[in-house]
Amino acid sequence: MIRVLNTNVHGHVNIMYALTAIKGVGRRYANMVCKKADIDMTKRAGEFNAEELERIVEIIQNPLQYKIPQWFLNRQKDHTTGKYSQLVANGVDNSLREDLERLKKIRVHRGIRHSRDLRVRGQHTKTTGRTGKTVGVTKKK
C-alpha cells in the first residue's frame, strides 16, 4: 500500500492501473502520465522509489506543464476561473459540490431539481427511478 495524493494505492498492481485508484485519474489519464514520466510501465507500483513517485504526482497535478493537451483534461474552461486543469482526489468532490451549490444559489431550474433529488436532465419521472421511493396504498384492516 502506497500513499499517493491522499489515497491508498495498491503496491502489487501494475503502475498504470494502480494510479486509477486515485479519484479523477482513469486508465487513459494514468497511461498518459506514466508515458510523460518516462517510467518503466511493466513494473508494479510498489517497485518505484520515492523520487519517481514524486515525479508522477507532479505530472498529475500540473498536466499542462508536461505537455498533456488541454482537451485531455477533466475540468476544461472552468466556470469561475476559466482555467484548464485535471481535478484529482479531493478536488473532484469539492468541485462537484461547488457546482451544485452554484446552481442552487442562482435558483436555476437545474439547481432546484438537484435540491429536491429529482431527475435533472428532462427524463420522465412518472414511472421510472423508483428505487428508494415508495409508491403504494395501505390497506385498512
Binding site: 466556470h79 469561475t80 476559466g82 452554484r102 444559489k105 431550474h109
Partner: protein, 152 residues
C-alpha cells in the same frame, strides 16, 4: 437538527459571496461589462455561442432597450423597475446584470433579479413553469393490490 445546519450553511454561502470576488471564466465583473460580443462568445458555453452566431436579428432588441431605459430611470441604490417579457429563450448577457425581469411562465410573470452568476443561462431557467408536485394519499385503484377493496 436541520435548522442550525441550514443557517450555518447560509452564513458561509453569504460569506463566500462577500469575500470572494465574482469572476466568470476568469474575467471580473468590471471587465465583463466592457467585453465585446466576440469575446463573450468565446467565454460562454457552446449552446449560447451557437445562438449568438446564428444571429440576433430583432428578437431581443426591444427587451434590451427597455432594460436600459429602466436602469437609467432607476434611482441610485434602488432596483430598476420590472421589465416583463415572454422571451424565455433569451440568454443572459453581462449588459443585463442588475435589471429586474418578469419572465412569463405561461400564466404569470416571475420576477427575477439578474445577478452576475447567471451569465450564459436562459431567462426561462429561472421561471418555473410547473407547480412542484406534492402528492396526496394515493387513492383506490392506484396500485394493483388496492382494487378489490371498494366492495362494501
Amino acid at each position: 437538527m436541520d435548522a442550525p445546519t441550514v443557517w450555518r450553511a447560509d452564513a458561509t454561502v453569504n460569506k463566500r459571496r462577500t469575500f470572494r470576488k465574482f469572476s466568470y471564466r476568469g474575467v471580473d465583473l468590471e471587465q465583463l461589462l466592457d467585453v465585446s460580443s466576440e469575446q463573450l462568445m468565446e467565454m460562454v458555453p457552446c449552446r449560447a455561442r451557437r445562438k449568438f452566431k446564428r444571429g440576433l436579428k430583432r428578437k431581443p432588441m426591444g427587451l434590451i432597450k427597455k432594460l436600459r431605459l429602466a436602469k437609467q430611470n432607476a434611482l441610485p441604490n434602488e432596483k430598476p423597475s420590472t421589465v416583463k417579457t415572454h422571451l424565455r429563450n433569451m440568454i443572459i448577457v453581462p449588459e443585463m446584470i442588475g435589471s429586474v425581469v418578469g419572465v412569463y411562465n405561461g400564466k404569470t410573470f416571475n420576477q427575477v433579479e439578474i445577478k452576475p452568476e447567471m451569465i450564459g443561462h436562459y431567462l426561462g431557467e429561472f421561471s418555473l413553469t410547473y407547480k412542484p408536485v406534492s402528492h396526496g394519499r394515493p387513492g383506490m385503484g392506484a396500485t394493483h393490490s388496492s382494487r378489490f377493496i371498494p366492495l362494501k
